[in-house]
């Protein structure tokens, strides 16, 4: 199969899937190796950047997903009647930052860093599916360990957790 056709087939699959499609699924369906599939996806992503207007191909961990460009979110909400995602409270953002950079991490660690109770922020983040329990610490009380989810990556435009910028060392305020 020619490359052009493989790209077309991959695009059709991404459209039908809706959800992120792992590179290896693409490789399997097109009967090519994973590296070739990977290069194919990169090419599609580039083509979307240059040719498409309202859509883009994003990478989340080892999978690719077709999504709309953020600039047009308002029109989509107008069309579907969906409510705008509310911005997260500062308590939630701080808690999320601590979890993202230190995962897996316990509630006690988070509270130590923030200097306040974090139950509410953690509950909200769990409900919004931005964090999840990833296990329990082998210590007295077996405290829960928290980590971020794939939805976290997507919601913040990160393709993996390594995409987070390094924390700024604090000098001047």
């Amino acid at each position: 199969m020619e490359e052009q056709q493989m790209m077309a087939a991959a695009e059709a699959i991404l459209f039908i899937a809706g959800d992120p499609v792992p590179v290896r699924s693409i490789a399997e369906v097109l009967d090519i190796d994973v590296d070739t599939a990977e290069r194919l996806m990169e090419k599609i992503a580039e083509a979307y950047t240059s040719q498409h207007w309202g859509l883009q191909l994003i990478r989340i961990n080892d999978a690719y997903q077709l999504v709309t460009r953020p600039e047009y979110g308002e029109y989509i909400r107008r069309f579907t009647g969906a409510a705008k995602e509310q911005s997260l409270s500062r308590a939630c953002l701080e808690t999320l930052a601590i979890i993202a950079y230190n995962q897996p991490v316990t509630k006690a660690d988070i509270e130590q860093l923030r200097g306040v109770k974090c139950d509410h922020a953690i509950a909200v983040l769990l409900e919004k599916n931005l964090i999840r329990e990833v296990g329990r610490l082998d210590a007295p009380g077996k405290p829960k360990l928290y980590g971020t989810t794939e939805l976290f990556l997507k919601s913040f435009g990160l393709s993996s957790i390594d995409d987070l910028p390094p924390l700024k060392p604090q000098q001047a305020t």
Binding site: F15, I16, G73, A83, S87, A97, A100, Y101, R114, N129
Partner: protein, 247 residues
């Protein structure tokens, strides 16, 4: 009602301290404990004066600050104990610096979120065997309830197990739920104005459902409504509606 002063809200004692430090335009390292302690206590006093609950963390920090301040007034302890106990002021500075890093990271996340929460994805197409004919002959109302509960459970489970896409989420409110809520309101209050049931902070769907619920309740003879003239507020009154009607 007393005179209300708007007091800035802080995420905790560390947040408040950072605010005081930035207001003083100094580096975290250069804090003067006696000054910062005075300002910190001043803030707590204001909160108290306004009858705001002061979280215990703020009190603990107050005690820490006073402890550091008192240590400074005392003569330097002997060398051995200095080795054992780290300087509490340095400890506090360290905590503030750590906290500030995540506070800044939180701001960075906020900016990203404002952009990327505007991206939407498409729902997957359903794969079904279209050749099959459906048979509901053995299906009971219990099966319908079970299917709904399974769905809700699956939704809960999938949200925890493999969180991937946030699709567009239209808010859903069921008519039955709304009827139940309105019944509760009317049983409690006897009468209510339509404007009290909806306000512009609710979605259009919510208002529509409320309206449909009222129509249904009129239909069932549970309530009576009055409007003095077109576009004026609608008075809704209980009529033959008792709580058990709703069971």
């Amino acid at each position: 009602m007393g005179y209300q002063v708007k007091l800035e809200v802080f995420e905790g004692p560390l947040d408040l301290l950072l605010h005081l430090i930035s207001k003083a335009k100094i580096n975290i390292e250069d804090i003067s404990i006696s000054e910062i302690t005075a300002q910190y206590m001043d803030y707590l006093n204001q909160m108290q004066a306004l009858d705001i609950d002061i979280a215990s963390e703020f009190m603990v920090m107050a005690a820490t600050l006073l402890h550091i301040k008192s240590c400074k007034l005392l003569p330097k302890p002997a060398q051995q104990s200095e080795e054992q106990e780290p300087d509490p002021q340095q400890q506090l500075i360290q905590r503030l610096k750590e906290y500030k890093k995540y506070k800044d990271a939180g701001e960075w996340l906020h900016e990203r979120y404002m952009v990327y929460s505007n991206m939407y994805s498409k729902l997957p197409e359903e794969v079904v065997d279209t050749g099959e004919d459906i048979k509901f002959s053995n299906v009971t109302k219990q099966d319908i309830a079970q299917a709904m509960m399974d769905l809700l459970k699956r939704k809960n489970a999938s949200q925890q197990a493999q969180p991937v896409v946030r699709n567009i989420k239209p808010e859903t409110i069921s008519l039955q739920d709304r009827i139940r809520q309105l019944t509760a309101v009317l049983v409690r209050r006897g009468k209510v104005l339509f404007s009290q049931l909806v306000s512009n902070k609710f979605s259009r769907l919510y208002i529509i459902v409320t309206f449909l619920a009222l129509l249904e309740m009129i239909n069932r003879g549970w309530i009576k409504v009055q409007q003095s003239r077109p576009f004026s507020d609608i008075l809704i009154q209980r009529k033959g509606l008792r709580w058990k009607n709703n069971r």
